[in-house]
Point group: D2
Chain length 255, copies 4
């Protein structure tokens, strides 16, 4: 009997964004789902929701996204005993955690920039390390991969702006990591991809600008369920034709 595939999703937040949608979609596809976020309550709620829908999910709250914190939580995922029978193989890892300070440069504090690079870059190195090491133990799947490592990027990964210096510094760094990893581990059939999310998410509406007169939300806000479908496509790409980078934005986005 073959092992059940496992996806680890870091950065689930309140479960209403890209991390949550990806977790739900892969659960439906038969993946075991390990959820990482800072808030235990919403994490447990999402795991419960997935389990009640017939999936298999477990919550792994993390006190903070430090290098060591990520190693510890990842190791506890890898040694987790799943209720249903059968071995588990890590096949997909999504780094969707993010930290940023959106301010003019002179308002950015030492803490702001330190937090941005610590989470966006240093912690993602730990996450990637564990994912790559686990993938290397796998045989090739039907599509010729040992595993897929996905990174949620942003426009700020390719462009600095007047109020994004701290965020962009972290997101540029994360993109650099994904570039190095894609080149180094493609040769070992580990697929690494980076998605540039260019726009505002539907679920982020709270706090974002209200829709303008005549705007339809589906045209102007990214639906995290749609992002998850593209992530699924990336995971299912044949090893002969892998993507490192893809951009995603609403049809009516001005860019």
């Amino acid at each position: 009997m073959s092992a059940r595939p496992l996806i680890v999703v870091a950065g689930v937040g309140a479960g209403k964004g890209t991390g949550g949608s990806t977790a739900r979609l892969f659960a439906k596809e038969g993946y075991r789902v390990a959820l990482i976020a800072r808030g235990a309550d919403s994490l447990n709620a999402l795991a419960a929701e997935i389990n009640q829908a017939g999936g298999e999910a477990a919550a792994f709250p993390i006190p903070e996204y430090s290098y060591k914190g990520v190693l510890v939580v990842f190791d506890s995922i890898l040694s987790h005993t799943w209720p249903s029978p059968g071995a588990t193989e890590l096949r997909v890892a999504l780094w969707n955690a993010s930290a940023g300070a959106f301010k003019n440069f002179l308002d950015v504090t030492e803490e702001d920039i330190q937090n941005s690079v610590n989470l966006n870059v240093v912690a993602s190195f730990a996450f990637s390390r564990r994912a790559v090491l686990a993938f290397k133990e796998n045989t090739l799947d039907a599509n010729g991969a040992r595993g897929t490592l996905l990174f949620t990027g942003a426009t700020a990964a390719i462009r600095g702006n007047t109020w994004t210096s701290a965020f962009a510094a972290g997101k540029f760094g994360l993109r650099a990591l994904s570039h190095s990893l894609a080149k180094e581990f493609g040769k070992e059939n580990i697929h690494v991809a980076h998605a540039i999310i260019d726009g505002v998410l539907k679920r982020e509406r709270h706090g974002s600008k209200p829709l303008e007169e005549g705007q339809e939300e589906a045209n102007v806000r990214l639906n995290p369920d749609a992002i998850a479908k593209t992530y699924k496509h990336l995971v299912e790409q044949d090893r002969s034709s892998w993507s490192w980078e893809i951009d995603l934005r609403p049809a009516h986005e001005k860019w």
Copy 2:
């Protein structure tokens, strides 16, 4: 009864590459398929193959990819009477035609560079014009699009090299067109995407370097069937989360 969707594929060549694979895949999905290429024989053979497999394809040979030649062939596609009953709506157009001269710069002739820009840029403007005008007549499909216009790009679309000046000049220009179109017509729910094919295709093996000792083809050569699957994903993306650009390369490609 709703209209049957139509895909137009320009640049089918001998039917063994990206154009042919895309035509076959969309035929299986229920699309009518209009095939454009310079060589009538292989074009007819591919149409026959698709029809025998239960699809519906028609061949539209083009004498050369000139601006007017493309308009004429596109118009004959749009007014084509399909054997099976039911209206037709153009929903996908793939510009997969390509011309290049791979030589050192001083060996590039006037004809080489003129051919490159005439096909890669001028003719693609004609193709895009007809596609956009047809898409504008459509209502939104289930994914919120009036139509999807796909362009097959290459590494030479983002990097010149010592032996690619003529090819790169054309492919850069095509990428520019796709960028402008994506920005202008996204607002009208027309999806425009550009794929950077970075590597050698499986079917292009003739004339390309033999595999090295220990190499597996699936790791080092792009399978056009896999490219077609990504094209299908792009067509099926939800309007909330469209990609303009994606790269595709073999797992073991050095880049």
Copy 3:
């Protein structure tokens, strides 16, 4: 006695933009200056101005920037007999000619896009060919170059926009050419550089938007004399540290 250096400037226009400023600056530096433009009158006026200021310039009107037209005018420059004594060596060539149609995509005609690629790409191949062949005859100058080939680019060389499809297709193509040339001929000590001019020129004010309340022209419009100084710097760079690409924009430009 060493040869007098020659600069060829294509795209002088009315002499009030980048081409004219570059011609004047290099004339002051002791270069012979060959001026190419379509309008003979303003060309002769600029040559006269430079000659009266103690420089040495000659006007070479071109009926149109076709491939053959450029070869013919370049050959007449290379065989020109200059009034003052002494041999001449082509050391710098600036391609500053440009053609574009700024319209929404559906208003772009076949002629618009054909003109854009013919001038921006095909003609620039001819110009580059003659420049490279002439440079190859030179010995190394004091900075270690046989010659410098400069291209005036634009924002539209790296970004398509909703009203720039035809222009961008040409400018992307020109940038591709410069990339290929820089890589191929750097090894022969021929320096190739591409400048992305991002903004509106001071001399283009006619037809451009008037300054807004409180704006100072020097902060918001590129001064072609300043661009010329950067071109001079590129020509004077030491072969150990050559630039291929540089961007130039006004201090207050929003980008």
Copy 4:
């Protein structure tokens, strides 16, 4: 009597690279020079060399490039009493410090990546903060700038590679910072520029590959004196035509 301009150079190292060359060149141009590096001995030697050559330099050793460490050393520079009479105005600041670990990804330690982002990103935020705040106090100089902030980048700022993950993550982040700053402070006539150094420096020869048969060093290794000249050009650009980014590589570099 007008104030003497001051340049601060962080990352002088042993004085034989880009930082040292820039310090020497600006000293000759009449700038007071504040030198920052970790090693006091070589720093003092460079200051002594510049002073003996008729310039005016002072050494500011820094224990480590932490955020607070950079603030402290910058403040001590700004309150420094220079031996010669006359006020001082900070006009140029060069961030040339760099940290990297060149290893395969799985050999990169937590310390490696933390050091890279702490120096390349976090410390550069502190440096930029002090520079920008000081520049804001200045009036416009003859070229229309309040000051120029220069960053030494690398190929690893735009491309990850298999052995550069930690270095690239830092250098991408630094480039992001420079992008944000250029956009935010251009409007206040503060010029921010980022140089992509693509190749090996002449003075770094120790430890780098020996020249190949037939290679001339001037064709294949960047001369830091040449880099310094381009930095001087950036500082002297007119505000109407500022560069954010420029690449620099040896004529014979393969890229």
